[in-house]
Symmetry: C2
DNA sequence: TCGAACATTGACATCCATGTAAAGGTCAAA
DNA sequence: TTTGACCTTTACATGGATGTCAATGTTCGA
């Protein structure tokens, strides 16, 4: 599909789709006329990118993570590079930290709301 | 305490402490000579701000949340404004969404790492 | 064949969180 | 009294994600 359709289906502006490409997050084919040609599976990938960005994960990190977050739960290990593994562990641990923190804040908000309701 | 000490104790550069003030996140007193005078309790608050920023929560949101995330678990409901309540609920739900998303990505990474280890 | 809808690249603009520097005031200690 | 450490405000710079626009090419339907 072309960029406009992908933009419609994902809600991600064409500007951003080109940006993601520039950042190496997606690599559409090209039609003979130079138009980008997006494969069906990229719909899911773009949505995943959006959710990650919305969660505060920068494109650089997303780029590193993407090959591992395979859409289908296929978990195809292409390359058991120990350096890659270390990076992934590191990244996961950072995620875990953020999760704990956000949970704490979520709970604090909930407590506060509850306290409001009992007043 | 003055800005330098607070910076030392929190690891947050003075530049950022002034920025947080500009954004309405902290409001130090002033000494007669114009120096900022930070209360002891602001140490915790600054650390909290840092953690939130590191989790991708923008200053604007932090500003709204801060009065509710009281350092001491005191939960003093100053103002049972229904509009404030709605904003807090909304904010909490957004947090919850992010948490779920991050958990998913964390789990996906973990699965991938495990798969690497079994290869 | 012409116009509308859609592509392309490239550039410039903006917001946010930061770094950094300039020009100057305060204060304590040598 | 001067030096050095610390503070002030102001400003300009940067990097990342995004908006917007200009100039141009492609395709398709009236």
């Amino acid at each position: 599909m072309r960029i406009g359709e992908l933009a419609n289906r994902t809600g991600v502006p064409t500007r951003m789709l080109r940006y993601y490409e520039e950042q190496g997050l997606i690599t559409p084919l090209r039609l003979e006329n130079g138009y980008r040609d997006y494969d069906e599976y990229l719909v899911e990938r773009v949505l995943k990118i959006r959710r990650l960005l919305d969660s505060g994960v920068p494109t650089r990190i997303i780029r590193d993570m993407l090959p591992c977050l395979n859409d289908i739960g296929s978990t195809i290990v292409a390359d058991p590079d120990p350096e890659l593994r270390a990076m992934l562990v590191d990244q996961r641990d950072k995620l875990a930290e953020r999760i704990v923190l956000l949970q704490q804040n979520r709970d604090a908000l909930t407590r506060y709301i509850d306290a409001m309701d009992h007043a």
